[in-house]
Subunit: 235 residues, 6 copies
């Protein structure tokens, strides 16, 4: 496959359904997943949700689109299955509004769970009422053209993170993280372990114990040279 | 009128009331209006609403104000009528908070529908409870002075878009668009046509039809050279 | 105390409780406080609340933290008392997520009212349900390390404003303002006077009087050379 | 002419040659021109020269181009005459590199003096050796397509300033300013007066006189309440 | 190899020396290379050279470094050979100055040609006199720590582009582009073809021929609906 | 002194002349000074020189100026002595051009060495020929007014760093750093020690020794878990 050719890859391999469902059912958040996989895969923090409170876990159908051209979204819709999430990266910076309520209607009819886009969206009020979550760089009514080809289901870099078709995508109010297909099962296990661990700590902290003690930090802080001075001594 | 003179133009000609009312009553959105007038008149996407869900259609009373000086807003209030929308562009970059709940109280008493400002606003919590919508570049408690004159109801460039006094302004969660007075009737007609067209397509998409088929895109995509490859062939 | 040494100052002097309580009880806003103290102490407008509607008044416990290192927050927790607000400035730009729901749990257990941070936070959905308000530069799931010391309760510059430990912090939807401890009583008095004054003006403006008349601006505007021209004369 | 139609306006009326030549010969700078016309017409400060030291005065041939599409530059070249300056505004944000050394070669062959563009350029090293000055938003090797029409010689908003075809453009290390055709003669006269005035002041300031005295500021400063305090009184 | 492990990959496979030398000797620029490989591999345009006029072609030794921590650069130096270029991507945003004249001295001693970094550099005046070119996000005297591990010679995303160890890097005043090792020979051939083609066009354009004619654009422009109107008809 | 009062503090205490002269004569750079004083006092990296190659060491005369109002610069000139550097912070964001060649002429007549400003400057071409260095946020021909008072020689926060009148300022191509008056002698000594130390390391690095060995890093890297893998083992 020539690097500059426009292709649509069909029948991509996807993360196993049961794994995706576990992330969704247990509402495992982006921050947890990101830590669980060793601090990888996070999209840049300027990718934000159009409304608060959404949480999705789904499978990436990727789009490499020309700037200000949304033609490839129409092509990608056909490749989507229930449980997928569209992830679009423009090949050059664009803050145009690639996506609105008509495309969302089409995607919802296929069971798609959301859109992640390193560009703009529009019809935000409608998308909010429809309950179709979008994580985007901005909101913009500026439309796009349908003139130049791109590709669907090729590896992309979206907002600084590598996303391969079939990868797991988790998105919530903290942003978006991608998990490589091969590591999804392992990351689920580690995420669950973290959640369990955090739950226990949450109880101790709520009861007034200090992190300094729970995590046994005092000794190392002292070794590094941290000193305590009473305000009265400084005056 | 000398270019650098400070003037207030009174009794400006306004878009006809019935046209404005139609935009408001039918809740025609910014994205639709922008497309209907050929992709013109959109303000930059960093002009965002201070709270979600507002939609206004009204007539522009324009202010060209010095940076960090809100004196001209007081002058402009007197020129406002019910159904107007204030549109302020500073002559140089400013993110100061030009506008707060007192000015909003004054404008609401005159039936003004909202404010569009390429600068900052403050008292956002009060403005939200009052239901006075503002589209601004930022929220900032930083106040302004009242030292230097500007002009009211002169042509301005606001966030990259030309706005003439008396123009139609539409603003919603997607941003703000200005429509020239002479074209308002035409743009209303075209907007309504788009809405009708979109309604029909929305039904077909919701029923599972693909945009690829509805818009007959397959042939042109193939001609441009789009190819489909099964994942299995790549592995 | 050597400038580059890492210290924790204990038993800092705090603004008197009754003053803080008055700001909180009367819901005196950031814009009012900022004006009342002569336009000083405002943090940059890119420090925004993670959810709308919060209003806090409290006492600054300050943190000077290395970029992408949140170790000092754990140290600072121990120094907090009921009614405090943590204020963190990284020593170099960082948009990492220093703070999440576990630290918030710990702070709430001590009666801390909120966090102001010139960096990122995470677990925003949890923080919102817990009702723990944060004013931050961004939301980011990107975690931090615990490797390098910083200082607690030293003077800092946070988002462009000087904050000393023990200062008064007011934060609402308009942003964040710091009030020097020695001036807190005076600023409270001036803020209350402004509120009273504004209340009277609000009534007159709501009744339709113009700011031009209430503030007697017409004469000075004319002296500066403002002229009025009827639109009809320009056509 | 319909607002959304793509047109090329030919034989535009241009600022008189002798006026443009005077601005060029006397090297009247952007800051002077901007002041002389009452603080209007300045493009945003993020439009910067690709190399230092250039100064041009010429006549605007305007381009309204789609984002990431440079087709219209080829169309505009044919409309250029010796002494013109191309001014391009994309209809939506773009930081792509619309322009390189081949187009510059073509423009230099026609006597065009430079390019002003609210987008990116490339081949900067070549443009520098050729001595073809460009004022742009950024440098970017990212190319563009030739798919969608725009317009040539229609009124545009470029980097926040209105530019009409045939207007005078002045550009130097301080940025770019546009002067309306009808006001060019008047602005030339006022600019020359400013230069004369400044020359005299420059001599007095170089000789050690203070602006406080030359401009007689002391009285007004005192009236506004400025006070002087010796450092010794503060300690 | 576990995703979150810190590794140094030694003896990476590099693009063949003769290919790199050809790019360097023929001074093939970033814009040409980027086009020749189908519009891929370009780093974001905010990565700019610290001084104008440099052009390098070399082989990527990659660094994935923690934010504000330059320890891994020391580790990477040992992996460098003559003709290499260091490419560093922080795992989270950082504008700290990771690199200065001491590290440059060390790299020059090994024949390294330059540095590409999605963060800051310092000692810019020294680097300029030494003739060691750097492409960076910013200049910053802010230092870094040496506390946390990263990796050397693993695949990275630098300023939005994928870079694998051993890839070809070309950098000049237009920015930086990465070419995959497997495609370097093919991209060299295509770049040389473009240069030949452009040379011929440059001559015709310099002689006054129009791009409209050379590229035969007139017919397609007319078909798309471009119309010409004489200014006189509009007045 | 009331916080909101406008004052000019006269006869400020300045860093001793011999210390300033040593920094200037030995060309001690910003990065070295910043490290020598423990990573404090650095202005934000968006404050950049208008031309490359300048290096100044001088004493801060501070200005707290209203946004877009340069009146206080005229007041400050009178307070300047030979060897001073003006440091201006606007009380609210401004990118206007506060300063041009006339003010530079006046300052040069008094022996002032440069300007540091968290706002814009203009007449850059003239300032460059005059050899008057400026470190600014941007270049902008946008002028300012003279309407509102500020203060001279009060403590300010400039681009995120605290600057007190009389402090030492060092500026070069890497940016700007402020050194508190009381610490200037100590910082000079530490800077000189660093320079000596670096000189020795520079020689060893130039001779091909590795930082890994000079700084004895190998053991600690291994302890933290860094591992080496040959590329051949991964394929």
């Amino acid at each position: 496959m020539n690097a500059s050719q426009s292709v649509v890859v069909t029948n991509i391999q996807r993360v196993e359904k049961s794994i995706v469902n576990a992330f969704a059912a247990e509402k495992i958040g982006v921050a947890t997943v990101h830590e669980a996989q060793g601090g990888k895969g996070l999209l840049a923090p300027n990718i934000t949700p159009i409304y608060p409170g959404a949480h999705v876990a789904g499978i990436a159908v990727t789009i490499s689109a020309p700037p200000c051209d949304n033609w490839m979204i129409h092509v990608a819709v056909e490749q989507c299955r229930a449980g997928d999430i569209l992830v679009l990266a423009p090949t050059s910076f664009s803050d145009a509004g690639y996506f609105g309520d008509l495309l969302a209607t089409s995607l919802m009819a296929r069971g798609v769970k959301g859109l992640v886009i390193d560009a703009g969206v529009r019809d935000v009020k409608d998308l909010t009422s429809m309950g179709f979550p979008v994580w985007s760089k901005c909101v913009s009514a500026q439309g796009t053209v349908k003139e130049t080809l791109g590709s669907v289901n090729v590896p992309i870099v979206c907002a600084g993170a590598r996303v391969n078709p079939g990868d797991l995508i988790i998105a919530d109010d903290d942003g978006v993280v991608a998990v490589a297909r091969a590591q999804a099962a392992d990351v689920l296990k580690k995420s669950q372990e973290r959640e369990t661990l955090e739950e226990e700590k949450r109880k101790r902290l709520a009861a007034g114990e200090l992190g300094l003690d729970i995590y046994k930090m005092r000794k190392r802080l002292a070794e590094k040279g941290l000193s305590y001075i009473d305000q009265a001594e400084l005056d």
